[in-house]
């Protein structure tokens, strides 16, 4: 694999690039997990607010 940038003077290491594929997949899972938690938190917060509002009415 070649990096199309004349200014990159470092050899990133092909093994390291391959490992980053795995790392990237793990991070995708982490981002998904984080987003899911965020989504459910918002969902429950919204639901709680709705119930609270209903009770107040």
């Amino acid at each position: 694999m070649t990096i199309q940038n004349p200014l990159l003077y470092l050899d990133p290491g092909s093994g390291s690039l391959l490992f980053q594929v795995i790392l990237s997949a793990m991070l995708t899972a982490a981002v998904f997990f984080k987003k899911s938690i965020h989504f459910f938190r918002h969902l429950f917060a919204g639901f709680r607010m709705y119930r609270h509002k209903k009770r107040a009415e």
Partner: protein, 451 residues
């Protein structure tokens, strides 16, 4: 025109000329440099004290034809290298590297390399010195410097944290870092219980010999930010170990009388007040009692000490007193760090970097001459080489209980170790300004002026 101190990167190069540093920016790097300066990133980094400030130098017509800019970075009094830092300083550098990357990403840039040599210390603060390390970030490209980060920054720091803090010094034998399989093999077993070490060092090591082929990771901005924040959290949790405390109680246990210390301190204050040196080098600084004293009267102080536990105590005091004019160097003056890398001049030898108006060698000469067998004329020659003007040297005779103790278990082969010989050899390079017999001891403080 290029010098070996910077030759790897085609974005530019550095030359040392007349005690000044000039950084030449190549035309190929013009767009990146202009982006760094105009985006506000440079100003934010400088305001935060993370990046060395510079000014743009006036260029000759010849320079204008060949280069985009010539920069003059703010002068660092004494460049220190990673193998001269304590474990805490390493941690500071790693966290700062990740912080700079995170900030740069907000401006669409990234550090294209990851070497601890891009940092130095000014007092107790580390500062990023390679202004030309910033590259455009392209969404979805892998982190090119990842392997270098793991081999030359994270790996050595892990070895210092999980194994022994001497590993930092071993970097002088391998200035480009250690290969990942080597790091993984040498890390203690308990590192397998740490997610950061397992992921970035142990698992990563298993992939170093594999061919990446056509695989290409897509490391989005969000993933990079998450990766760096995880690394910062992981590294932040690593506890630095306390090295042996062989010399840390020197002033409490080994110094017999308070009269001796009070008189010595009073004499030093008198000398420092009279000479008002711009810079002081304290050799064998121990926990920095006299470096701290010198810092009150001198602009800059360099404290050189071989015992990491002592340097750590001094750094704690610097932080507690918010002092910023003492820089510590972890080094053994008998085995000073040599010139390393290409032509032995990519990383400069310690004794070339140490230059001070006044050099202090307090209760040091007997350690060099008796414990390490250094001839007294060598000591005089070395002090003359690093002193620009003055040397304050304490001579401790054989009759002193400490020297007698050092000689107790061995044959006294040190016929040349006496005061007359000391004065004779130092007089080759210096003129004696003053000598003072320190109270309650047979010790003498000599103040020399360089010839």
């Amino acid at each position: 025109m290029k010098q070996a101190i910077s030759y790897r990167d085609n974005s530019g190069f550095v030359i040392l000329k007349n005690d000044s540093v000039f950084r030449f920016v190549s035309r190929e790097y013009a767009a990146q440099y202009d982006m760094l300066m105009q985006s506000g990133l440079y100003q934010e980094l400088v305001d935060e004290g993370l990046l060395i400030p510079h000014r743009e130098n006036l260029m000759t017509a010849q320079e204008k034809a060949a280069y985009h800019k010539v920069l003059v970075p703010e002068r660092i009094f004494c460049i220190t290298y990673p193998y001269e830092w304590t474990t805490e300083q390493w941690k500071q550098v790693l966290l700062q590297f990740l912080q700079i990357n995170t900030m740069a990403l907000r401006y669409g840039m990234i550090l294209k390399d990851a070497t601890p040599f891009n940092f130095s210390f000014q007092g107790r603060h580390c500062i990023f010195i390679d202004t030309l390390s910033f590259e455009f970030y392209k969404e979805g490209t892998p982190w090119i410097a990842y392997r270098q980060f793991c081999e030359s920054m994270l790996g050595p720091f892990a070895l210092m944290t999980f194994n022994h803090d001497n590993w930092g010094r071993y970097l002088s034998a391998s200035i480009n870092g250690f290969e990942l399989p080597f790091i993984s093999r040498n890390l203690k077993r308990r590192s397998w219980f740490d997610l950061t070490a397992v992921l970035h060092l142990h698992w990563h090591a298993k992939y170093t010999d594999r061919d990446g082929g056509a695989h290409r990771s897509s490391m989005s901005r969000q993933k990079l930010q998450l990766l760096w924040s995880m690394l910062r959290r992981g590294i932040g949790k690593w506890k630095t170990k306390n090295a042996g405390r062989r010399w840390t109680k020197y002033y409490d246990i080994d110094i017999a009388s308070t009269e001796y210390m009070d008189d010595k301190t009073a004499q030093l204050v008198f000398v420092l007040q009279a000479l008002q040196p711009r810079s002081v080098i304290d050799l064998g600084a121990n926990t920095g009692r006299f470096s701290l004293l010198a810092a009150r009267y001198a602009g800059q102080v360099i404290a050189v000490e071989a015992d990491q536990a002592c340097v750590r105590i001094l750094q704690e005091q610097l932080a507690a007193q918010s002092l910023s004019n003492i820089t510590t160097i972890l080094a053994d003056i008998v085995v000073p760090t040599p010139g390393l890398g290409w032509n032995n001049s990519e990383r400069l030898p310690l004794l070339h970097r140490l230059q001070g108006e006044l050099v202090m060698a307090l209760a040091l000469v007997h350690h060099l001459c008796i414990a390490r067998n250094i001839p007294i004329e060598f000591v005089a020659e070395m002090l003359a080489a690093i002193s620009l003007n003055y040397a304050v040297v304490e001579f401790i005779p054989k009759s002193d209980p400490k020297v007698a103790g050092m000689l107790a278990g061995r044959e006294d082969i040190f016929n040349d170790y006496h005061e007359e010989s000391f004065i004779h050899h130092f007089s080759r390079y210096f003129v004696l300004m003053r000598s003072h017999a320190i109270a309650s001891s047979g010790r003498t403080l000599f103040i020399w002026k360089k010839k």
